[in-house]
Amino acid sequence: MSVVLFGVWPYIALAVCVVGHVWRWRSDQFGWTSRTSELMEKRWLALGSPLFHFGALFVILGHAVGLLVPASATAALGIPETVYHTLALVIGLIAGIVFFAGAVILGLRRYVTKARFRLITRPADAAMYAILLVVALAGLSATVGLNIVGDGYDYRETVSVWFRSIFTLQPDVDALAAAPWIFQVHAVGAFALIAIWPFTRLVHVWSIPLGYLVRPPIVYHAPRP
């Protein structure tokens, strides 16, 4: 079971993600959008959306550091384990709570405030919200339950090792299997999110319009009569 979930599933998810993106990019430029709903409701969005998005930015950044930078590397840089741990915990917790609060506000907005919304919610997006909620809840409760209420758990010895091992094509199934179940749920769920990504509105993440900062203000289409 753990071989399938921790050893095979990540590869399936990544493959679906890559192939899915290529397919979507080539066949559905018209559907490639943030699917903004600000026209339908502004007040909840004004609070929820910035919390959610800025929270997400920091959550992603935090995960990148926590998963990709091995403990030996931070130690080599002279950062004591306790300092790293406290920093990661505090920043991660704040980002996680901001992100989660934003998600809750946006969820309430979509499913509680106005009937206008349900109509523009597509099935793939609804599935994505459910997975996102499970992953975020698991992640938050792992942090709170094990590291704040509990006696602490160093995921960098197991989860991170497993994560990096995926990319060296020698998945260390046992590393994740040794971690508490809540981390396993978080990790497996996260790959589900990666798999469903190209089929949802999440594709707009790849369209962050940084080019806007450098292009001339007025865009002309050149051919003349």
């Binding site: 959008t33 943030s34 600000e38 319009p209 007025i218 865009v219 003349r224 009569p225």
Partner: protein, 485 residues
Amino acid sequence: MRVRAQMAMVMNLDKCIGCSTCSVTCKQTWTNRDGVEYAWFNNVETKPGIGYPQRWEDQGRWKGGWTVDGSGRLRLRAGGRLRKLATIFANPDLPSLDDYYEPATYDFDTLLTAPAADRMPVARPLSAITGRPMAIEWGPNWDDDLGGSALYAATDPNLAGLTDQVQRSFETTFMFHLPRLCEHCLNPACVAACPSGALYKRERDGIVLVNQDKCRGWRMCVSACPYKKVYINRVTAKAEKCTFCFPRIEAGLPTVCAETCVGRLRYLGLVLYDLDRVEAAAAAPEAELVDAQRQVFLDPSDPAVIAQAAADGIPPDWLAAAQASPVYALALRHRVALPLHPEYRTLPMVWYIPPLSPVLDATTALGGDNTSADDVFHAVTELRIPLGYLASLFTAGDTGLVAGVLMKLAAVRAHMRAVTTGAGAPDDPAAAGATGPELEALYRLLAVAKMRDRYVVPPAHKEEAAELAAWASGCPLDRAPLAVA
């Protein structure tokens, strides 16, 4: 000098009867689809009135268009590129559906299926969005013909600068209709605000379009357009706007709104302009705005312009169309058409001949003879009400410019009356800054021009058909994948 061609429109407001035929035919053509039920690429407002979306002219609220900063540089009113990206998750300047209106239909089915009963069945209003029963509380022309004007028109942003007494009397003083569509601006704020670069201005004819395949739904164009003429499709979550009926224009046909206009008040034609002058004109000091915007245009009969136009690839038939353009004649030769809100600094390309009828009514009310140019001139200069109001719409507050146009229109009436009745010597046309033949030419254009004189639209050249087809994704109706290679 870089010569470019622009398809532009002039509307003669005196003739608009507010029938909204233009809006309906436009809707049938372009926005008769799910997601844009609330969008009117062409709408007709009553002025004074708050318009659609509500109070769209209140740029303190919506932050549309451009401003000039301390050092004289042009900036988007809502802030620069960094602010755009910072507010991308929630745009505080975006109108919500309630600022437009919630579109409704009626439960007509009940009328057919209700069982026999003592009372007539009633078709209740249903939201066109949710399908549920709703109370209709607002619409795109709720205050039509000054309906409820004490409530609505009194809050018209254009009345803000006028005194209380003037404000109170506007209801009895005048009213006119203002048909509006995208201005296909020379300095389009919507284009400059689009983070994805999906909006673009066609260099061939100046039409501003949204590439549906590049739009990512960042909705900055909606708030940046000071005329509120870009709309979000609620289903596709992409921006859509007036296309100036480009497929018709390319075929040499007038836009749908122009062709179906009951009042025959719309004029379509090419104007040539100098791309190098656009930025300076947009940044001109407020008092010189209208003049600066006029100076962007080039005289299509000037040999230097003709030579440069040829060098810039404008074909001879297009040049001939520019020379025959009724838009050039009305806006630049006779100078009776004015831009709508030039102070937004987008250089709008739909210009308006301000309505003389409020002044004629006022002349009669003052005990004058509204066929006498003298009496009308007197009323024009005495009356602060229509002048101040019209100036706030068309000249960034310069009442002198509006008065000049109205006097010229009054002079056309007086002159033609004298000529046709043969009664008495014609008034001295020089008072209105025109010669007799000029007034007669203006009369022909305003009163009796045939379709071919009102719409001078040079068709696109066949040899560029492939190129034009490649732009097909600019059409909001085009949902075909892989439309653009």
